[in-house]
């Protein structure tokens, strides 16, 4: 009982703080980007397991390019961002080459990408900076933060919504862009068609191979965006422990949201709530270990609920088909 009281007390303390909501928005953004990236690939039934590795590698690339161009003083962070996106796209393309042209299981390619991404980034970092843990010596700078006019003057709401990094806003805008892309454009339709039924798509002259490749390239590019977010917004440097499973959480959020951008966004915000709560609640008497496991536990529980829900839905659909058949037979 005292545990519940403690939770309620902590919630009362935390929920009135604007910085709590600010952190929620900021910490959900990289997971949202990762999940949206996974979603494009998932819609074409090409699982991008390598998101974590792509994020790690591109996060380093962004920092390296940015510092080579003088960091915050010049356009360094912007160029770093663009190169990170390009490298991410290239890595996505590599996954598609190995998976579809060389016929290696796409899950295995993804796992290999994760291992290479983390290993290669530490190797590259050591080669170029002589440091194995962080690139703090590089002065790579960050992308700009934006104060939104009018909104920034509103008490509470201004503190929550204003002054985020430009990429933070973009990740939430990307939810709408992605919805539009997947459901309202020709390419989006083709991606979904290939994902639903490859043979049917082929029969109307769509090359499923090309579509899947395009989907993975887009997925990788968004992964690059997520990587750059981590090293140019969330922090101002790259560190070997920086991504810390965010790519995998994104993958989980993608399946929880059944690759639907809107639902994915909600899932990521839910994760953000528990992540931010775990950081704010370290002062309470609640167990720190339980708190830190909380966001991941929520993802796990979410996945279970989702899978039970879809199974029920599928069963209902089959029963529906069954009864339809019966009625047809009677007729």
């Amino acid at each position: 009982m005292s545990l519940i009281n403690e939770i309620i007390r902590t919630l009362q303390n935390v929920l009135v703080l604007p910085s709590f909501y600010f952190m929620l928005i900021q910490s959900a953004a990289p997971i949202l980007l990762a999940a949206l990236g996974c979603a494009v690939a998932a819609k074409a039934s090409a699982t991008n397991m390598g998101m974590e590795g792509i994020m790690t590698f591109t996060a380093l690339i962004a920092v390296l390019v940015s510092s080579a161009l003088g960091g915050s003083k010049g356009n360094g962070p912007w160029v770093g961002l663009v190169v990170a996106i390009a490298v991410g796209a290239l890595l996505g393309f590599l996954i598609s080459v190995f998976a579809f042209r060389l016929k290696i299981d796409i899950i295995l390619v993804g796992i290999a990408m994760n291992l290479i991404g983390t290993g290669a980034s530490v190797f590259l970092m050591y080669l170029l900076t002589g440091d194995r843990a962080t690139t703090t010596s590089l002065q790579s700078g960050t992308l700009p933060q934006i104060a939104i006019p009018f909104i920034k003057d509103i008490p509470f709401l201004g503190e929550v919504l204003s002054n985020h990094y430009i990429l933070t806003y973009f990740s939430y805008i990307l939810v709408f862009i992605m919805s539009f892309f997947l459901f309202k454009t020709k390419l989006g339709l083709r991606i979904r068609a290939v994902g639903e039924n490859e043979n049917a798509a082929e029969s109307v002259g769509i090359s499923s191979l090309n579509i899947k490749t395009i989907a993975l390239v887009i997925s990788g590019a968004i992964g690059g965006l997520a990587g750059a977010y981590m090293s140019e917004c969330y922090l101002a440097y790259f560190s070997s422990g920086l991504i810390a499973g965010r790519g995998f959480v994104g993958l989980a959020a993608c399946s929880m949201g059944s690759a639907n951008p809107g639902v994915i966004c909600l899932c990521c915000l839910a994760f953000g709530i528990f992540y931010a709560f775990s950081n704010f609640a370290t002062l309470s008497n609640l167990s720190i270990y339980a708190l830190n496991a909380l966001p991941y536990a929520v993802v796990l529980i979410g996945l279970v609920i989702y899978s039970v829900y879809t199974r029920k839905k599928e069963l209902k659909r089959l029963q529906g088909l069954d009864s339809e058949e019966h009625s047809e037979n009677k007729a």
Binding site: S19, M23, A133, T134, T136, S240, L242, A244
Partner: protein, 347 residues
Amino acid sequence: MKKLLAVLMAVLMVLCLAGCGAKEEEEVAAEKIKIAYCINGTTGDKSFFDSGTEGVKWMNEKYGDKVEATTLEFTYDDTTWRSQLENAFMSEEYDIIIVGTYDMLGMTVELTEEYPDQKVWFYDEQWDFDANPRENVISLLFKQNEGSYIVGYMAAMASQTGHVSFCGGMSNTVLLDFAAGYAQGAKAYNPDCVVDVTWMDSFSDPTKGKDVAGASYSQGVDVVFACGGGAGLGVFEAALEYENVYVIGVDGDQGAMWEAAGETEKAARTITSMKKNVNQGFFDTCTKEIEGTLEYGQNYRLGVDGGYVSAAQTSTTTTVFTAEQLAAVEDITAKIAAGEIKVDTAF
């Protein structure tokens, strides 16, 4: 054919000579004390492991004719630590193995029993010699509580809000020892000072450091003691997002480190660092080993007395604190060294 044979013979003879030369060198090297410093992580953490590595460098520089010390990096993959450590024991290549921290204690206790001839310097965690008596082990224990007392005192001094916090990596005994000294020091300056103890639950993920410290700063804390290796570096990122807030570094002189890296903004937020001079500890122990005065089978406690833990001073320190305040800090430092102030400990 004869010519070829002659050339071959010549080559063989040269190789023999070269071989002889190498052998002689090896014999000289064998007299040296070979020391392996095993890091359960990598260098480049800008604090703890780097300081130890510096100590290893000093040994090679000062005692190059008597000592050959190397650093072995086990990386952060904890599943391989045990086998890597066992390799170091089994190879019989090293006279002395330096290993430490809470994570390595259990396996070192087992391995030192299996290899009773392998000398081990175990640092940064209490070795219970009553439960595990070992004639081949010494334990180097830094009195981080004493150094933390001093920086806690300074934290309360610098705080405008009377609210400071401790941001630790994971709650093990050593870090609780930091926290205990820090809280006592802060209360010693200002009995009403509120001291929060927070945990990042990571030594490698700086985003956790940034977010946990950000949560503290946003709730009125204005001095955070960042105490968690690579994860702690995130605390400095958080400080940049708030006005008039400060950070206290740990293990190395992190203020000087930021200055050297050109990060003047972060240097300006770092009022002091609780220096745990692992380098000095290793080097002095090595001196004792060479002199033959090192007694195995016991704990060595390295505190303020002897300069093994201290509060670093940078230009930021002298800007933030007045001369009288710094004199007061020196006063309590002397009192701790003399044993007049008893500092709380988690051990």
